[in-house]
Protein backbone atom coordinates (compact mmCIF):
# COMPACT_ATOMS: atom_id res chain seq x y z
CA UNK A 1 0.00 0.00 0.00
CA UNK A 2 1.26 3.44 -0.87
CA UNK A 3 2.05 5.75 1.97
CA UNK A 4 0.04 8.73 0.84
CA UNK A 5 -3.32 6.93 0.88
CA UNK A 6 -5.62 7.28 3.87
CA UNK A 7 -8.38 5.03 2.54
CA UNK A 8 -8.19 2.40 -0.18
CA UNK A 9 -11.36 0.64 -1.30
CA UNK A 10 -11.61 -2.07 -3.94
CA UNK A 11 -14.89 -3.68 -5.04
CA UNK A 12 -16.30 -3.10 -1.59
CA UNK A 13 -19.78 -4.64 -1.31
CA UNK A 14 -22.43 -4.88 1.39
CA UNK A 15 -25.32 -7.14 0.72
CA UNK A 16 -28.51 -7.55 2.78
CA UNK A 17 -30.24 -10.64 1.38
CA UNK A 18 -30.38 -9.94 -2.35
CA UNK A 19 -30.23 -6.19 -1.86
CA UNK A 20 -26.87 -4.58 -2.64
CA UNK A 21 -26.67 -1.56 -0.36
CA UNK A 22 -23.11 -0.99 -1.53
CA UNK A 23 -22.21 -2.53 -4.86
CA UNK A 24 -18.53 -2.98 -5.75
CA UNK A 25 -17.31 0.50 -4.98
CA UNK A 26 -13.64 1.35 -5.51
CA UNK A 27 -11.89 4.58 -4.63
CA UNK A 28 -8.88 6.01 -2.86
CA UNK A 29 -8.66 8.92 -0.49
CA UNK A 30 -5.32 10.73 -0.15
CA UNK A 31 -3.90 11.79 3.18
CA UNK A 32 -4.84 15.35 4.11
CA UNK A 33 -7.55 15.47 1.49
CA UNK A 34 -11.13 16.72 1.96
CA UNK A 35 -13.09 13.99 0.28
CA UNK A 36 -16.78 14.59 -0.40
CA UNK A 37 -18.98 11.51 -0.45
CA UNK A 38 -22.19 12.44 -2.23
CA UNK A 39 -25.32 10.55 -3.12
CA UNK A 40 -29.08 10.72 -2.88
CA UNK A 41 -30.87 9.37 0.17
CA UNK A 42 -30.67 5.60 0.16
CA UNK A 43 -27.72 5.50 -2.27
CA UNK A 44 -25.61 3.60 0.28
CA UNK A 45 -23.39 6.38 1.63
CA UNK A 46 -23.98 5.70 5.29
CA UNK A 47 -23.59 1.93 4.84
CA UNK A 48 -20.25 2.43 3.08
CA UNK A 49 -19.12 4.84 5.74
CA UNK A 50 -20.10 2.44 8.53
CA UNK A 51 -17.93 -0.26 6.96
CA UNK A 52 -14.97 2.10 6.74
CA UNK A 53 -15.43 3.05 10.39
CA UNK A 54 -15.39 -0.56 11.51
CA UNK A 55 -19.05 -0.56 12.57
CA UNK A 56 -20.17 -3.02 9.93
CA UNK A 57 -18.66 -6.02 8.16
CA UNK A 58 -18.42 -5.84 4.35
CA UNK A 59 -19.82 -8.76 2.34
CA UNK A 60 -16.97 -8.79 -0.17
CA UNK A 61 -14.20 -6.67 -1.65
CA UNK A 62 -11.28 -5.15 0.20
CA UNK A 63 -10.68 -1.92 2.03
CA UNK A 64 -8.07 -0.45 4.30
CA UNK A 65 -8.44 2.60 6.48
CA UNK A 66 -5.27 4.21 7.85
CA UNK A 67 -3.52 1.06 6.64
CA UNK A 68 -5.77 -1.31 8.64
CA UNK A 69 -8.01 -3.99 7.19
CA UNK A 70 -11.78 -3.48 7.59
CA UNK A 71 -12.34 -7.23 8.10
CA UNK A 72 -9.86 -7.95 10.84
CA UNK A 73 -8.49 -4.76 12.32
CA UNK A 74 -11.60 -2.76 13.13
CA UNK A 75 -10.42 -1.93 16.62
CA UNK A 76 -7.15 -0.54 15.22
CA UNK A 77 -9.11 1.50 12.70
CA UNK A 78 -11.23 2.88 15.55
CA UNK A 79 -8.11 4.15 17.30
CA UNK A 80 -7.04 6.10 14.21
CA UNK A 81 -10.31 7.75 13.25
CA UNK A 82 -12.88 10.16 14.52
CA UNK A 83 -16.57 9.82 13.68
CA UNK A 84 -19.49 12.19 13.77
CA UNK A 85 -22.73 10.45 13.01
CA UNK A 86 -25.90 11.76 11.43
CA UNK A 87 -27.63 11.42 14.76
CA UNK A 88 -26.30 13.85 17.32
CA UNK A 89 -24.35 11.65 19.65
CA UNK A 90 -22.92 13.62 22.51
CA UNK A 91 -24.53 12.97 25.90
CA UNK A 92 -27.22 15.57 26.39
CA UNK A 93 -27.21 15.12 30.16
CA UNK A 94 -23.50 15.78 30.46
CA UNK A 95 -21.96 19.24 30.31
CA UNK A 96 -19.78 20.49 27.48
CA UNK A 97 -16.61 19.86 29.45
CA UNK A 98 -17.78 16.46 30.67
CA UNK A 99 -18.47 15.31 27.11
CA UNK A 100 -15.03 16.43 25.96
CA UNK A 101 -13.46 14.75 28.98
CA UNK A 102 -15.31 11.48 28.39
CA UNK A 103 -14.58 11.10 24.69
CA UNK A 104 -11.01 12.30 25.10
CA UNK A 105 -10.48 9.80 27.90
CA UNK A 106 -11.98 6.95 25.93
CA UNK A 107 -9.42 7.58 23.16
CA UNK A 108 -6.61 7.51 25.69
CA UNK A 109 -5.85 11.20 26.01
CA UNK A 110 -4.36 11.83 29.47
CA UNK A 111 -6.37 13.74 32.06
CA UNK A 112 -3.80 16.50 32.18
CA UNK A 113 -3.88 16.99 28.44
CA UNK A 114 -7.66 16.83 28.37
CA UNK A 115 -7.77 19.65 30.87
CA UNK A 116 -5.52 22.05 29.01
CA UNK A 117 -6.86 21.21 25.57
CA UNK A 118 -10.52 21.37 26.54
CA UNK A 119 -9.99 24.85 27.98
CA UNK A 120 -8.45 25.91 24.68
CA UNK A 121 -11.23 24.30 22.73
CA UNK A 122 -13.98 25.97 24.74
CA UNK A 123 -12.29 29.29 24.09
CA UNK A 124 -11.95 28.82 20.34
CA UNK A 125 -15.57 27.73 20.15
CA UNK A 126 -16.59 30.73 22.20
CA UNK A 127 -18.39 28.48 24.67
CA UNK A 128 -16.72 29.77 27.86
CA UNK A 129 -20.00 30.67 29.52
CA UNK A 130 -21.63 27.42 28.40
CA UNK A 131 -18.80 25.09 29.39
CA UNK A 132 -20.59 23.92 32.52
CA UNK A 133 -24.04 23.76 31.01
CA UNK A 134 -25.66 20.54 29.84
CA UNK A 135 -25.16 19.90 26.15
CA UNK A 136 -28.89 19.29 25.74
CA UNK A 137 -29.48 23.00 26.37
CA UNK A 138 -27.26 24.21 23.51
CA UNK A 139 -28.65 25.32 20.13
CA UNK A 140 -28.22 22.80 17.29
CA UNK A 141 -25.49 24.71 15.46
CA UNK A 142 -23.31 24.82 18.56
CA UNK A 143 -23.97 21.18 19.27
CA UNK A 144 -22.75 20.27 15.79
CA UNK A 145 -19.60 22.35 16.12
CA UNK A 146 -18.95 20.81 19.49
CA UNK A 147 -19.55 17.30 18.13
CA UNK A 148 -17.03 17.92 15.37
CA UNK A 149 -14.47 19.26 17.83
CA UNK A 150 -14.98 16.22 20.03
CA UNK A 151 -14.58 13.91 17.01
CA UNK A 152 -11.12 15.37 16.28
CA UNK A 153 -10.11 16.01 19.90
CA UNK A 154 -7.85 12.96 20.03
CA UNK A 155 -6.08 14.05 16.78
CA UNK A 156 -7.15 11.17 14.57
CA UNK A 157 -5.62 10.52 11.14
CA UNK A 158 -9.01 10.50 9.47
CA UNK A 159 -12.36 11.94 10.51
CA UNK A 160 -15.66 10.67 9.09
CA UNK A 161 -18.50 13.17 9.04
CA UNK A 162 -21.97 11.89 8.16
CA UNK A 163 -24.09 14.85 7.06
CA UNK A 164 -22.56 17.10 9.70
CA UNK A 165 -24.47 20.23 8.67
CA UNK A 166 -27.97 18.76 8.44
CA UNK A 167 -30.55 21.22 9.74
CA UNK A 168 -28.02 23.99 10.42
CA UNK A 169 -28.35 27.61 9.21
CA UNK A 170 -26.09 28.94 6.38
CA UNK A 171 -23.92 31.07 8.64
CA UNK A 172 -23.20 28.20 10.99
CA UNK A 173 -22.56 25.94 8.00
CA UNK A 174 -19.99 28.39 6.77
CA UNK A 175 -18.30 28.46 10.18
CA UNK A 176 -18.44 24.70 10.26
CA UNK A 177 -16.56 24.48 6.98
CA UNK A 178 -13.94 26.90 8.31
CA UNK A 179 -13.40 24.40 11.11
CA UNK A 180 -13.09 21.58 8.59
CA UNK A 181 -10.44 23.54 6.68
CA UNK A 182 -8.54 24.22 9.88
CA UNK A 183 -8.60 20.53 10.75
CA UNK A 184 -7.47 19.59 7.25
CA UNK A 185 -4.61 22.07 7.56
CA UNK A 186 -3.31 20.13 10.56
CA UNK A 187 -3.10 17.06 8.34
CA UNK A 188 -6.35 15.29 9.25
CA UNK A 189 -8.01 13.57 6.31
CA UNK A 190 -11.67 14.56 6.03
CA UNK A 191 -14.26 12.14 4.68
CA UNK A 192 -17.59 13.93 4.56
CA UNK A 193 -21.08 13.19 3.24
CA UNK A 194 -23.44 16.01 2.42
CA UNK A 195 -26.60 16.92 0.54
CA UNK A 196 -25.58 20.54 0.02
CA UNK A 197 -23.97 21.05 -3.36
CA UNK A 198 -22.37 24.33 -2.35
CA UNK A 199 -20.55 22.33 0.29
CA UNK A 200 -19.45 19.84 -2.35
CA UNK A 201 -17.58 22.70 -4.00
CA UNK A 202 -15.44 23.07 -0.87
CA UNK A 203 -14.06 19.54 -1.24
CA UNK A 204 -10.81 18.65 -2.98
CA UNK A 205 -12.42 15.69 -4.67
CA UNK A 206 -15.87 14.22 -4.58
CA UNK A 207 -17.51 10.93 -5.46
CA UNK A 208 -21.18 10.57 -6.33
CA UNK A 209 -22.98 7.36 -5.38
CA UNK A 210 -26.10 6.23 -7.20
CA UNK A 211 -27.91 3.02 -6.28
CA UNK A 212 -24.98 1.57 -4.38
CA UNK A 213 -22.36 2.35 -7.03
CA UNK A 214 -19.83 5.17 -7.39
CA UNK A 215 -20.84 6.81 -10.67
CA UNK A 216 -18.40 9.71 -10.72
CA UNK A 217 -15.20 10.68 -8.92
CA UNK A 218 -13.09 13.76 -9.53
CA UNK A 219 -12.49 17.32 -8.41
CA UNK A 220 -15.58 19.56 -8.57
CA UNK A 221 -14.05 21.58 -11.43
CA UNK A 222 -13.31 18.52 -13.53
CA UNK A 223 -16.76 17.06 -12.88
CA UNK A 224 -18.46 20.23 -14.03
CA UNK A 225 -16.37 20.15 -17.19
CA UNK A 226 -17.08 16.48 -17.78
CA UNK A 227 -20.84 16.86 -17.43
CA UNK A 228 -20.86 20.21 -19.16
CA UNK A 229 -22.56 21.80 -16.21
CA UNK A 230 -22.40 25.19 -14.53
CA UNK A 231 -22.82 23.98 -11.00
CA UNK A 232 -22.44 20.87 -8.89
CA UNK A 233 -26.21 20.92 -8.53
CA UNK A 234 -26.55 20.15 -12.21
CA UNK A 235 -23.86 17.45 -12.12
CA UNK A 236 -25.62 15.78 -9.25
CA UNK A 237 -28.99 16.06 -10.95
CA UNK A 238 -27.71 14.45 -14.16
CA UNK A 239 -26.22 11.57 -12.22
CA UNK A 240 -28.97 11.00 -9.71
CA UNK A 241 -32.11 11.34 -11.81
CA UNK A 242 -31.66 7.81 -13.12
CA UNK A 243 -31.68 6.45 -9.56
CA UNK A 244 -34.17 3.74 -8.78
CA UNK A 245 -33.75 3.94 -5.03
CA UNK A 246 -34.76 6.96 -3.09
CA UNK A 247 -35.74 7.85 0.39
CA UNK A 248 -34.13 6.52 3.52
Amino acid sequence: MEDNKAIVCKDLTKQFGDFYAVNKISFEVLKGEIFGFLGANGAGKTTAMRILCGLSFPSSGTATVAGFDVYKQQEKIKKSIGYMSQKFSLYENLTVLENIEFYGGVYGVSRKEIKTRSEELVQTLGLESEAKKLVGALPLGWKQKLAFSVAIFHKPQIVFLDEPTGGVDPVTRRQFWDMIYEAAATGITIFVTTHYMDEAEYCNRISVMVDGKVEALDSPANLKKEFNADSMDEVFYQLARGAKRSGD
Partner: protein, 371 residues
Protein backbone atom coordinates in the same frame (compact mmCIF):
# COMPACT_ATOMS: atom_id res chain seq x y z
CA UNK B 1 -8.11 0.52 33.13
CA UNK B 2 -8.05 4.30 32.76
CA UNK B 3 -10.74 4.02 30.09
CA UNK B 4 -12.92 2.19 32.60
CA UNK B 5 -12.35 5.09 34.98
CA UNK B 6 -13.72 7.54 32.42
CA UNK B 7 -16.70 5.27 31.73
CA UNK B 8 -17.55 5.01 35.42
CA UNK B 9 -17.20 8.73 35.93
CA UNK B 10 -19.58 9.38 33.02
CA UNK B 11 -22.08 6.79 34.24
CA UNK B 12 -22.21 8.13 37.79
CA UNK B 13 -22.65 11.66 36.51
CA UNK B 14 -25.58 10.57 34.40
CA UNK B 15 -27.17 8.54 37.16
CA UNK B 16 -26.85 11.49 39.52
CA UNK B 17 -28.57 13.77 37.00
CA UNK B 18 -31.44 11.37 36.30
CA UNK B 19 -33.15 12.20 39.55
CA UNK B 20 -36.40 10.42 38.67
CA UNK B 21 -34.75 7.03 38.35
CA UNK B 22 -32.56 7.71 41.34
CA UNK B 23 -35.53 8.61 43.52
CA UNK B 24 -37.47 5.56 42.41
CA UNK B 25 -34.51 3.31 43.14
CA UNK B 26 -34.43 4.53 46.71
CA UNK B 27 -38.18 4.82 47.20
CA UNK B 28 -38.55 1.22 46.09
CA UNK B 29 -37.19 -0.46 49.23
CA UNK B 30 -38.98 1.92 51.55
CA UNK B 31 -42.39 1.49 49.95
CA UNK B 32 -42.13 -2.20 49.21
CA UNK B 33 -40.91 -3.08 52.65
CA UNK B 34 -43.36 -0.93 54.53
CA UNK B 35 -46.48 -1.49 52.46
CA UNK B 36 -46.27 -5.08 51.23
CA UNK B 37 -45.86 -6.96 54.50
CA UNK B 38 -48.68 -5.03 56.12
CA UNK B 39 -50.99 -5.33 53.15
CA UNK B 40 -50.24 -8.90 52.25
CA UNK B 41 -51.37 -10.66 55.37
CA UNK B 42 -52.65 -14.17 54.82
CA UNK B 43 -53.93 -14.46 58.40
CA UNK B 44 -57.69 -14.50 58.04
CA UNK B 45 -59.18 -12.35 60.78
CA UNK B 46 -62.73 -11.38 60.07
CA UNK B 47 -64.80 -14.02 58.41
CA UNK B 48 -68.43 -13.14 57.92
CA UNK B 49 -70.55 -16.04 58.96
CA UNK B 50 -74.29 -16.62 58.80
CA UNK B 51 -75.69 -19.21 61.17
CA UNK B 52 -78.96 -20.97 60.48
CA UNK B 53 -80.07 -22.28 63.82
CA UNK B 54 -83.08 -24.53 63.45
CA UNK B 55 -82.68 -26.10 66.85
CA UNK B 56 -82.77 -23.11 69.21
CA UNK B 57 -81.46 -25.19 72.07
CA UNK B 58 -78.96 -24.54 74.86
CA UNK B 59 -76.33 -26.47 72.97
CA UNK B 60 -76.80 -24.66 69.73
CA UNK B 61 -76.62 -21.34 71.63
CA UNK B 62 -73.41 -22.48 73.33
CA UNK B 63 -71.87 -23.36 70.00
CA UNK B 64 -72.88 -20.03 68.47
CA UNK B 65 -71.46 -18.00 71.33
CA UNK B 66 -68.25 -20.01 71.17
CA UNK B 67 -67.91 -19.12 67.52
CA UNK B 68 -68.70 -15.48 68.19
CA UNK B 69 -66.14 -15.26 70.98
CA UNK B 70 -63.34 -16.84 68.98
CA UNK B 71 -62.42 -13.48 67.47
CA UNK B 72 -62.16 -14.79 63.95
CA UNK B 73 -65.83 -14.65 63.00
CA UNK B 74 -68.34 -11.92 62.65
CA UNK B 75 -71.88 -13.18 62.81
CA UNK B 76 -73.93 -11.56 60.11
CA UNK B 77 -77.63 -12.28 60.16
CA UNK B 78 -79.26 -15.23 61.77
CA UNK B 79 -81.68 -16.64 59.27
CA UNK B 80 -84.07 -19.48 59.75
CA UNK B 81 -83.73 -20.93 56.30
CA UNK B 82 -80.63 -22.25 54.69
CA UNK B 83 -81.79 -21.03 51.28
CA UNK B 84 -82.04 -17.47 52.50
CA UNK B 85 -78.52 -17.65 53.97
CA UNK B 86 -77.15 -19.01 50.74
CA UNK B 87 -78.22 -15.84 48.95
CA UNK B 88 -75.84 -13.97 51.26
CA UNK B 89 -72.99 -16.06 49.90
CA UNK B 90 -74.20 -15.40 46.39
CA UNK B 91 -74.16 -11.67 47.05
CA UNK B 92 -70.75 -11.90 48.64
CA UNK B 93 -71.95 -10.56 51.98
CA UNK B 94 -71.03 -13.69 53.82
CA UNK B 95 -68.10 -16.07 53.49
CA UNK B 96 -69.53 -19.01 55.30
CA UNK B 97 -72.91 -20.47 56.24
CA UNK B 98 -73.32 -22.94 59.07
CA UNK B 99 -76.53 -24.86 59.43
CA UNK B 100 -77.52 -26.31 62.79
CA UNK B 101 -80.35 -28.72 62.02
CA UNK B 102 -83.40 -29.21 64.18
CA UNK B 103 -82.85 -31.91 66.78
CA UNK B 104 -79.20 -30.96 67.19
CA UNK B 105 -79.23 -31.11 70.97
CA UNK B 106 -81.45 -34.13 71.18
CA UNK B 107 -79.34 -36.18 68.83
CA UNK B 108 -76.16 -35.16 70.54
CA UNK B 109 -77.40 -36.15 73.93
CA UNK B 110 -79.20 -39.32 72.95
CA UNK B 111 -77.04 -40.69 70.20
CA UNK B 112 -73.80 -38.81 70.69
CA UNK B 113 -73.65 -38.00 67.00
CA UNK B 114 -74.89 -35.02 65.00
CA UNK B 115 -73.97 -33.59 61.63
CA UNK B 116 -73.60 -29.90 60.97
CA UNK B 117 -73.58 -28.45 57.45
CA UNK B 118 -70.99 -25.83 56.53
CA UNK B 119 -71.00 -24.05 53.17
CA UNK B 120 -67.97 -21.96 52.24
CA UNK B 121 -67.56 -19.36 49.51
CA UNK B 122 -64.49 -20.76 47.77
CA UNK B 123 -63.83 -17.96 45.32
CA UNK B 124 -60.93 -16.93 47.50
CA UNK B 125 -59.42 -20.37 48.01
CA UNK B 126 -57.02 -19.40 50.75
CA UNK B 127 -59.63 -17.65 52.82
CA UNK B 128 -62.11 -20.48 52.33
CA UNK B 129 -59.58 -23.09 53.42
CA UNK B 130 -58.41 -21.21 56.46
CA UNK B 131 -61.85 -20.11 57.69
CA UNK B 132 -63.16 -23.65 57.23
CA UNK B 133 -60.30 -24.91 59.35
CA UNK B 134 -60.96 -22.35 62.06
CA UNK B 135 -64.57 -23.35 62.27
CA UNK B 136 -63.62 -27.01 62.32
CA UNK B 137 -61.26 -26.55 65.21
CA UNK B 138 -63.82 -24.52 67.16
CA UNK B 139 -66.37 -27.26 66.70
CA UNK B 140 -63.80 -29.92 67.60
CA UNK B 141 -63.03 -27.99 70.76
CA UNK B 142 -66.74 -27.68 71.53
CA UNK B 143 -66.97 -31.41 71.03
CA UNK B 144 -64.14 -32.18 73.41
CA UNK B 145 -65.50 -29.92 76.13
CA UNK B 146 -69.01 -31.27 76.12
CA UNK B 147 -70.33 -32.54 79.44
CA UNK B 148 -69.14 -35.98 80.22
CA UNK B 149 -72.68 -37.21 80.69
CA UNK B 150 -73.49 -36.33 77.13
CA UNK B 151 -70.72 -38.44 75.76
CA UNK B 152 -71.22 -42.10 75.28
CA UNK B 153 -69.05 -44.34 77.36
CA UNK B 154 -67.21 -45.43 74.24
CA UNK B 155 -66.19 -41.86 73.47
CA UNK B 156 -64.92 -41.02 76.93
CA UNK B 157 -62.88 -44.16 77.13
CA UNK B 158 -61.25 -43.66 73.80
CA UNK B 159 -57.70 -42.45 73.97
CA UNK B 160 -57.41 -39.13 72.21
CA UNK B 161 -54.21 -37.99 70.56
CA UNK B 162 -53.58 -34.37 71.36
CA UNK B 163 -51.50 -32.55 68.84
CA UNK B 164 -49.43 -29.53 69.79
CA UNK B 165 -47.52 -27.45 67.25
CA UNK B 166 -44.26 -25.60 67.59
CA UNK B 167 -43.36 -23.27 64.75
CA UNK B 168 -39.62 -23.12 64.36
CA UNK B 169 -37.87 -19.99 63.06
CA UNK B 170 -41.16 -18.11 62.97
CA UNK B 171 -42.82 -18.96 66.28
CA UNK B 172 -46.07 -17.12 65.75
CA UNK B 173 -46.25 -18.06 62.08
CA UNK B 174 -46.31 -14.39 61.14
CA UNK B 175 -46.43 -13.61 57.48
CA UNK B 176 -43.89 -10.79 57.68
CA UNK B 177 -41.09 -13.25 58.37
CA UNK B 178 -41.91 -14.96 55.12
CA UNK B 179 -42.32 -11.90 52.94
CA UNK B 180 -39.66 -9.46 54.17
CA UNK B 181 -36.68 -11.57 53.08
CA UNK B 182 -38.41 -12.16 49.76
CA UNK B 183 -38.86 -8.43 49.20
CA UNK B 184 -35.14 -7.91 49.71
CA UNK B 185 -34.61 -10.29 46.79
CA UNK B 186 -37.27 -8.50 44.78
CA UNK B 187 -35.41 -5.20 45.20
CA UNK B 188 -32.21 -6.58 43.74
CA UNK B 189 -34.22 -8.23 40.96
CA UNK B 190 -35.83 -4.95 39.91
CA UNK B 191 -32.58 -3.00 39.90
CA UNK B 192 -30.64 -5.72 38.14
CA UNK B 193 -33.28 -6.74 35.66
CA UNK B 194 -34.97 -3.49 34.73
CA UNK B 195 -32.77 -0.52 35.37
CA UNK B 196 -29.66 -1.79 33.59
CA UNK B 197 -31.56 -3.07 30.57
CA UNK B 198 -33.32 0.25 30.12
CA UNK B 199 -30.15 2.24 30.64
CA UNK B 200 -28.27 0.53 27.81
CA UNK B 201 -31.21 0.46 25.44
CA UNK B 202 -31.66 4.19 25.96
CA UNK B 203 -28.13 4.68 24.63
CA UNK B 204 -29.19 2.67 21.59
CA UNK B 205 -32.28 4.81 21.10
CA UNK B 206 -30.47 8.11 21.46
CA UNK B 207 -27.65 6.91 19.20
CA UNK B 208 -24.78 7.38 21.63
CA UNK B 209 -24.09 3.64 21.54
CA UNK B 210 -22.97 4.04 17.93
CA UNK B 211 -20.54 6.70 19.02
CA UNK B 212 -19.26 4.31 21.69
CA UNK B 213 -18.96 1.47 19.19
CA UNK B 214 -16.81 3.58 16.91
CA UNK B 215 -14.33 4.26 19.70
CA UNK B 216 -11.60 1.81 20.71
CA UNK B 217 -13.41 1.04 24.00
CA UNK B 218 -13.14 -2.68 24.67
CA UNK B 219 -16.31 -4.70 25.11
CA UNK B 220 -15.49 -5.69 28.69
CA UNK B 221 -14.71 -2.08 29.57
CA UNK B 222 -18.09 -0.91 28.30
CA UNK B 223 -19.94 -3.70 30.07
CA UNK B 224 -18.12 -3.27 33.37
CA UNK B 225 -18.72 0.45 33.03
CA UNK B 226 -22.45 -0.32 33.04
CA UNK B 227 -22.43 -3.13 35.63
CA UNK B 228 -20.34 -1.57 38.37
CA UNK B 229 -22.47 1.55 39.03
CA UNK B 230 -25.71 -0.43 39.21
CA UNK B 231 -24.07 -3.11 41.29
CA UNK B 232 -23.04 -0.48 43.80
CA UNK B 233 -26.51 1.07 43.82
CA UNK B 234 -28.07 -2.40 44.19
CA UNK B 235 -25.93 -3.16 47.24
CA UNK B 236 -26.79 0.19 48.81
CA UNK B 237 -30.50 -0.48 48.23
CA UNK B 238 -30.12 -3.95 49.73
CA UNK B 239 -28.45 -2.49 52.81
CA UNK B 240 -31.19 0.09 53.07
CA UNK B 241 -33.71 -2.76 52.83
CA UNK B 242 -32.03 -4.67 55.63
CA UNK B 243 -32.04 -1.54 57.78
CA UNK B 244 -35.74 -1.02 57.21
CA UNK B 245 -36.50 -4.67 58.04
CA UNK B 246 -34.64 -4.20 61.30
CA UNK B 247 -36.19 -0.84 62.20
CA UNK B 248 -39.77 -1.62 61.21
CA UNK B 249 -40.08 -5.35 61.76
CA UNK B 250 -37.19 -6.11 64.06
CA UNK B 251 -35.95 -8.70 61.59
CA UNK B 252 -32.21 -9.09 61.93
CA UNK B 253 -30.47 -11.85 59.99
CA UNK B 254 -29.75 -14.75 62.29
CA UNK B 255 -27.01 -16.01 59.99
CA UNK B 256 -23.81 -14.23 59.10
CA UNK B 257 -23.91 -10.93 57.24
CA UNK B 258 -20.90 -12.01 55.25
CA UNK B 259 -22.73 -15.01 53.82
CA UNK B 260 -25.82 -12.92 53.11
CA UNK B 261 -23.83 -10.22 51.32
CA UNK B 262 -21.83 -12.78 49.38
CA UNK B 263 -25.12 -14.18 48.05
CA UNK B 264 -26.58 -10.75 47.35
CA UNK B 265 -23.41 -9.71 45.52
CA UNK B 266 -23.34 -12.73 43.23
CA UNK B 267 -27.10 -12.68 42.72
CA UNK B 268 -26.95 -9.04 41.67
CA UNK B 269 -24.19 -9.80 39.15
CA UNK B 270 -26.40 -12.56 37.71
CA UNK B 271 -29.42 -10.28 37.41
CA UNK B 272 -27.35 -7.45 35.94
CA UNK B 273 -26.16 -9.96 33.36
CA UNK B 274 -29.80 -10.78 32.67
CA UNK B 275 -30.63 -7.09 32.16
CA UNK B 276 -27.61 -6.69 29.93
CA UNK B 277 -28.63 -9.70 27.88
CA UNK B 278 -32.08 -8.23 27.31
CA UNK B 279 -30.55 -4.94 26.26
CA UNK B 280 -28.40 -6.63 23.62
CA UNK B 281 -31.50 -8.17 22.06
CA UNK B 282 -33.77 -5.10 22.24
CA UNK B 283 -33.77 -2.09 19.95
CA UNK B 284 -35.87 0.24 22.07
CA UNK B 285 -36.97 0.75 25.63
CA UNK B 286 -40.51 -0.53 25.06
CA UNK B 287 -39.19 -3.87 23.83
CA UNK B 288 -36.73 -4.12 26.66
CA UNK B 289 -39.41 -3.25 29.20
CA UNK B 290 -41.80 -5.91 27.88
CA UNK B 291 -39.21 -8.64 27.68
CA UNK B 292 -37.86 -7.84 31.14
CA UNK B 293 -41.39 -7.71 32.53
CA UNK B 294 -42.27 -11.04 30.94
CA UNK B 295 -39.34 -12.81 32.56
CA UNK B 296 -39.54 -11.05 35.89
CA UNK B 297 -43.21 -12.07 36.20
CA UNK B 298 -42.17 -15.68 35.65
CA UNK B 299 -39.35 -15.26 38.13
CA UNK B 300 -41.63 -13.85 40.78
CA UNK B 301 -44.46 -16.33 40.36
CA UNK B 302 -42.26 -19.40 39.99
CA UNK B 303 -39.53 -18.76 42.49
CA UNK B 304 -41.32 -19.11 45.81
CA UNK B 305 -41.81 -15.42 46.52
CA UNK B 306 -45.43 -15.86 47.56
CA UNK B 307 -46.12 -19.56 47.36
CA UNK B 308 -43.83 -22.32 48.42
CA UNK B 309 -42.01 -24.14 45.63
CA UNK B 310 -42.35 -27.37 47.63
CA UNK B 311 -45.97 -27.66 46.64
CA UNK B 312 -45.24 -27.35 42.93
CA UNK B 313 -45.58 -30.28 40.57
CA UNK B 314 -42.30 -31.73 39.31
CA UNK B 315 -42.18 -29.90 36.00
CA UNK B 316 -42.81 -26.58 37.70
CA UNK B 317 -39.97 -27.23 40.13
CA UNK B 318 -37.67 -27.71 37.15
CA UNK B 319 -38.69 -24.32 35.75
CA UNK B 320 -38.36 -22.77 39.17
CA UNK B 321 -34.80 -24.07 39.53
CA UNK B 322 -33.92 -22.57 36.19
CA UNK B 323 -34.49 -19.07 37.54
CA UNK B 324 -31.70 -17.51 39.56
CA UNK B 325 -34.37 -15.90 41.74
CA UNK B 326 -35.58 -19.19 43.23
CA UNK B 327 -32.13 -20.01 44.54
CA UNK B 328 -31.69 -16.69 46.25
CA UNK B 329 -35.23 -16.49 47.66
CA UNK B 330 -34.65 -19.86 49.28
CA UNK B 331 -31.20 -19.16 50.72
CA UNK B 332 -32.06 -15.60 51.69
CA UNK B 333 -34.84 -16.92 53.94
CA UNK B 334 -32.58 -19.66 55.28
CA UNK B 335 -29.81 -17.21 56.19
CA UNK B 336 -32.04 -14.49 57.63
CA UNK B 337 -34.55 -16.64 59.52
CA UNK B 338 -32.75 -19.91 60.21
CA UNK B 339 -29.18 -18.70 60.44
CA UNK B 340 -27.94 -21.22 57.91
CA UNK B 341 -24.19 -21.15 57.49
CA UNK B 342 -22.37 -20.87 54.18
CA UNK B 343 -21.77 -24.60 54.21
CA UNK B 344 -25.50 -25.33 54.43
CA UNK B 345 -26.18 -23.30 51.29
CA UNK B 346 -22.96 -23.87 49.36
CA UNK B 347 -24.78 -25.70 46.60
CA UNK B 348 -27.10 -22.75 45.97
CA UNK B 349 -24.13 -20.39 45.91
CA UNK B 350 -22.59 -22.42 43.12
CA UNK B 351 -25.88 -22.24 41.20
CA UNK B 352 -25.85 -18.45 41.47
CA UNK B 353 -22.22 -18.25 40.39
CA UNK B 354 -23.13 -20.36 37.36
CA UNK B 355 -26.08 -18.10 36.53
CA UNK B 356 -23.88 -15.03 36.83
CA UNK B 357 -21.28 -16.59 34.54
CA UNK B 358 -23.71 -17.80 31.90
CA UNK B 359 -25.89 -14.67 31.72
CA UNK B 360 -22.95 -12.26 31.59
CA UNK B 361 -20.99 -14.43 29.19
CA UNK B 362 -23.98 -14.66 26.88
CA UNK B 363 -24.50 -10.89 27.05
CA UNK B 364 -20.86 -10.13 26.27
CA UNK B 365 -20.92 -12.63 23.43
CA UNK B 366 -24.07 -11.09 21.98
CA UNK B 367 -22.92 -7.50 22.29
CA UNK B 368 -21.29 -6.57 19.00
CA UNK B 369 -19.30 -3.47 18.29
CA UNK B 370 -19.21 -4.43 14.62
CA UNK B 371 -22.08 -6.15 12.88
Amino acid sequence: MTVLGFLLQKEFRQIRRDTTILRIMFALPVIQLIVFPLAMDFDVKSVNISIVDQDHSTYSQKLISKIASSGYFKIVGAETSFKKSLTYIENGEVDLVMEIPAGFERNLVREGVQKIGISVDAINGTKAGISGQYLNSIIADFNANMDVNVKTSAMSQQGIINITFTNWFNPRAEYKYNIVPAILVLLLTMIGGFVTALNIVREKEVGTIEQINVTPIKKWEFILGKLIPFWIIGMIVFTLGLTISWLVYGIVPVGSFLTLYAFAAVYLVALLGFGLLISTYSDNQVQAMFVAFFFIMIFILMSGFFTSTDGMPGWAKVISNMTPVAHFVKTDRMIILKGSSFNDVKQEFLYLVAFAGVLNGWAIWNYRKTN
